[in-house]
C-alpha cells in the first residue's frame, strides 16, 4: 500500500513539475512583453515615425530613416528570396523522390540552421568586399539568403497538401506539366505560399546580426541602394548600448515597433493558413 501511495505522490509531483515548467517559460514572456509595451508606449509618438534622429542631448527626434531603411531591406530581401524560394519549393514537391531533391532539402535545412551572424560574414565576402562599399543591396542579399530556405520548405510542404485530383484533372485536359503546376496547383496553394513568405518575413524583420556589416547604418535619410542604410534593428542596438537615457527610451520605442511588425507577419501567416485549410476542407 505504501508503495502505491509513494508512486502516486511521485506522479503528482511530476505533474506539478510540468505545470510549473509552463509557468517558468511564461513568466519571462509576460515580463518581456510588459516592458516592451509599457516602455515603448511611453516613448512612442508620431514624431518617432516622421522625424530624423537628433544629436545627443537634443530631445525629440525619431527613427524615420531607420523605418524606411528596414522596409527597403525587407523589400530587397523578399524580391530576391520569394521567387527563388517558391521555385525551389516547386522543385522539391514535384520531384520529391529524387536524390537531387534530398540534397536540396539538406542544403535548405543547413542554411536554415546557419547562425545569422555567419550569413552576415558570407554576405560581406560576396556583396561588400568586391565593391568596397557597405550597401542596402548587400543587406537585402543577406536577409534574402535567410528567407530562401523558409519559403522553399513551407512552399514544398503546402504544395503537397493540394489534392492530387486537381493536378490530375489539369493533366487529363492536356495541360503540360509546367502549365498544370503554375496555373492549377500553385494558385490553389497560394494562401500556403503567403504563409511561408510571412513566416520568413517575421523571422528576418527582427534580424540585426546579418545587417551589422552589410547594410551597416546611416545617420541620414537615404533610399540609395548602393549606400549604407539605417535599419530599425541596428538603430535599436546602437541606442541600447549607448549611455544616454533619451536614446534608451527611443530604443524601447523601436523594439515596440519591431515586435509589432513581427506580430503582424505572424498573424497574417496564421490567417493565410486558416484560409488554405478552409479551401481544401470543402
Amino acid at each position: 500500500m505504501n508503495g502505491i501511495a509513494r508512486r502516486q505522490a511521485l506522479s503528482w509531483l511530476f505533474v506539478g513539475f510540468c505545470g510549473l515548467s509552463v509557468l517558468v517559460a511564461l513568466v519571462p514572456l509576460a515580463f518581456i512583453l510588459f516592458f516592451v509595451l509599457s516602455q515603448g508606449l511611453q516613448a512612442l509618438n508620431l514624431g518617432f515615425f516622421t522625424h530624423m534622429p537628433t544629436p545627443v542631448g537634443e530631445p525629440g527626434g525619431g527613427m524615420a530613416n531607420a523605418i524606411v531603411g528596414t522596409l527597403i531591406l525587407i523589400g530587397l530581401g523578399s524580391m530576391f528570396a520569394v521567387p527563388v524560394g517558391i521555385m525551389c519549393g516547386v522543385y522539391l514537391s514535384e520531384y520529391a523522390g529524387t536524390r537531387f531533391a534530398s540534397l536540396v532539402r539538406f542544403a535548405a535545412d543547413t542554411l536554415n540552421g546557419v547562425p545569422s551572424i555567419v550569413i552576415g560574414v558570407f554576405a560581406y565576402g560576396v556583396a561588400v568586399l568586391p565593391f568596397r562599399q557597405f550597401s542596402a543591396l548587400a543587406g537585402g542579399f543577406a536577409l534574402g539568403v535567410m528567407m530562401i530556405p523558409i519559403v522553399a520548405r513551407t512552399t514544398e510542404e503546402l504544395l503537397l497538401l493540394v489534392p492530387a485530383t486537381m493536378r490530375e484533372g489539369a493533366l487529363a485536359l492536356g495541360a503540360t506539366h509546367a502549365r498544370a503546376v503554375f496555373t492549377v496547383v500553385l494558385p490553389s496553394a497560394l494562401p500556403g505560399i503567403v504563409t511561408g513568405v510571412m513566416l520568413a518575413l517575421a523571422r528576418i524583420a527582427g534580424e540585426t546580426a546579418p545587417l551589422l556589416f552589410t547594410a551597416f547604418s546611416n545617420r541620414f535619410f537615404t533610399t540609395k541602394l548602393n549606400q549604407p542604410i539605417a535599419s530599425l534593428t541596428v538603430q535599436v542596438y546602437t541606442y541600447a548600448i549607448s549611455p544616454y537615457a533619451d536614446w534608451h527610451r527611443q530604443a524601447w520605442a523601436g523594439a515596440l515597433v519591431l515586435v509589432s511588425i513581427v506580430a503582424l507577419c505572424s498573424v497574417l501567416a496564421r490567417v493565410a493558413t486558416r484560409r488554405l485549410e478552409r479551401m481544401h476542407a470543402r
Partner: protein
C-alpha cells in the same frame, strides 16, 4: 500509383524540371559558396596560426596575435549552461501540452510558447540590458561571501557576464526544444501509453515509458536547442560583458564567437585581423552544421521508428 508517377517523372528531363531545377541548384550553390567563401577569406589566419589558433588564449589585435580559445570557451560554456537550464523546462512544457493539459488549453499554450520564439533577438538583448542584468547584479550582491570564495562565483558583481548570457539563451531556446519534443511525443503510438496504464502504471510511469520510447527524438530536440544557442548573437553580445577570458565563474564577463564577430568585424583594420575573425565564423559554421545535422538525423530516425511499429487502431480514437 502516386509512387509510380513520381518515379516516372524523376526519369524524364523536360523544360519544367530544368527550369525549377536551376533555382534548386542555386540554393545548393549558396550553401557551397558560403562554406568556400568562409574558408577562402580566412586562409591568412589558417596558414599563420594553424591549429594553435584554437588553443591560444591571447587575443591582441594591436600586436597581431590571435587566439580563439576564450571565444570557444565562452560559446560552449554559455550554450551548455543554457541547455542545463532550458532542457528540463522545455521537456516539462512538451509533456504538459501533449499529455497532461486539457484540450482547451492546448492551442493557447502552443501559441504562447511560439510567441517566445518570435520575439527578435535584439528585443531580448534590450530587455536583458535593462531588466535582467540589474536583477542578476542584485543576485550577485546578495550572494553570501562564503560562496563568493568559490571559483564558480568569484569576481565583482557586474551583472553582465556568463550567468546573464546563460539565462537569456535558455529563455530563447526553450520554445525550439519544446516544440520539437512535443512533435516527437506525438509520434509515440497511443498503444504504448494505454499498455502502461492497463498494467496499472501511474501517470509518471506511463509518461516515462513514452519519453523512453521517444528518447532518440528528445535528444534530437535538445541538440536543436544547443545549435540555436551556439549561434545566437545579439542578445548574448548585449549581456555577456565582452571580455575575452577563460573563466569558470558565472559572474565573470566573457565573450562568445558570435559576439566577437558582431563587435569587432567592422573594426578589423588589417587583413590578418579580418581573416582571424572570419576563421571564427568558419568554425561557428562547421560546429552548428554538425550539431544541426546530428539533431535532424536523430529526429528523422525517431520518425521512422514511429512508422515501423504496427499499431492497432485505439478504441478511443475509433469511437471518436
Amino acid at each position: 500509383m502516386l509512387k509510380s508517377r513520381i518515379l516516372h517523372r524523376a526519369q524524364t528531363m523536360d523544360g519544367f524540371r530544368l527550369g525549377t531545377g536551376v533555382f534548386a541548384f542555386f540554393l545548393v550553390l549558396i550553401v557551397a559558396t558560403l562554406g568556400w567563401e568562409l574558408w577562402r577569406q580566412s586562409l591568412l589566419s589558417l596558414q599563420k596560426f594553424g591549429f594553435g589558433f584554437w588553443v591560444t588564449e591571447t587575443w591582441d589585435p594591436v600586436a597581431g596575435r590571435f587566439g580563439a580559445l576564450p571565444f570557444i570557451w565562452g560559446t560552449l560554456y554559455s550554450s551548455i549552461l543554457a541547455l542545463l537550464l532550458a532542457t528540463p523546462v522545455a521537456i516539462g512544457i512538451a509533456v504538459f501540452i501533449s499529455e497532461l493539459c486539457p484540450a482547451r488549453l492546448k492551442q493557447p499554450l502552443i501559441f504562447l510558447t511560439e510567441l517566445l520564439a518570435a520575439i527578435p533577438s535584439i528585443v531580448y538583448g534590450l530587455w536583458g540590458i535593462f531588466v535582467l542584468v540589474p536583477a542578476v547584479r542584485a543576485l550577485q550582491v546578495a550572494t553570501p561571501s562564503a560562496l563568493r570564495q568559490l571559483p564558480l562565483f568569484s569576481g565583482p558583481p557586474l551583472g553582465v557576464g556568463m550567468l546573464s548570457a546563460g539565462v537569456i539563451l535558455a529563455i530563447m531556446i526553450v520554445p525550439f526544444t519544446s516544440s520539437v519534443a512535443r512533435e516527437v511525443l506525438k509520434s509515440v503510438p497511443a498503444a504504448q501509453r494505454e499498455a502502461a496504464y492497463a498494467l496499472g502504471a501511474t501517470r509518471l510511469e506511463a509518461i516515462r515509458a513514452a519519453l523512453f520510447y521517444a528518447r532518440t527524438g528528445i535528444v534530437g530536440a535538445v541538440m536543436l536547442g544547443f545549435g540555436r544557442a551556439l549561434g545566437e548573437t545579439m542578445a548574448v553580445t548585449m549581456v555577456i560583458g565582452n571580455s575575452p577570458q577563460v573563466s569558470w565563474s558565472l559572474f565573470a564577463p566573457q565573450y562568445t564567437m558570435a559576439a566577437v564577430l558582431a563587435n569587432e568585424f567592422t573594426e578589423a583594420a588589417n587583413p590578418l585581423y579580418l581573416n582571424a575573425l572570419i576563421e571564427i565564423g568558419l568554425f561557428l559554421f562547421i560546429i552548428t552544421l554538425a550539431v544541426n545535422s546530428l539533431s535532424r538525423l536523430l529526429i528523422w530516425r525517431m520518425g521512422r521508428i514511429g512508422k515501423e511499429v504496427v499499431t492497432l487502431p485505439a478504441p478511443a480514437e475509433a469511437a471518436a
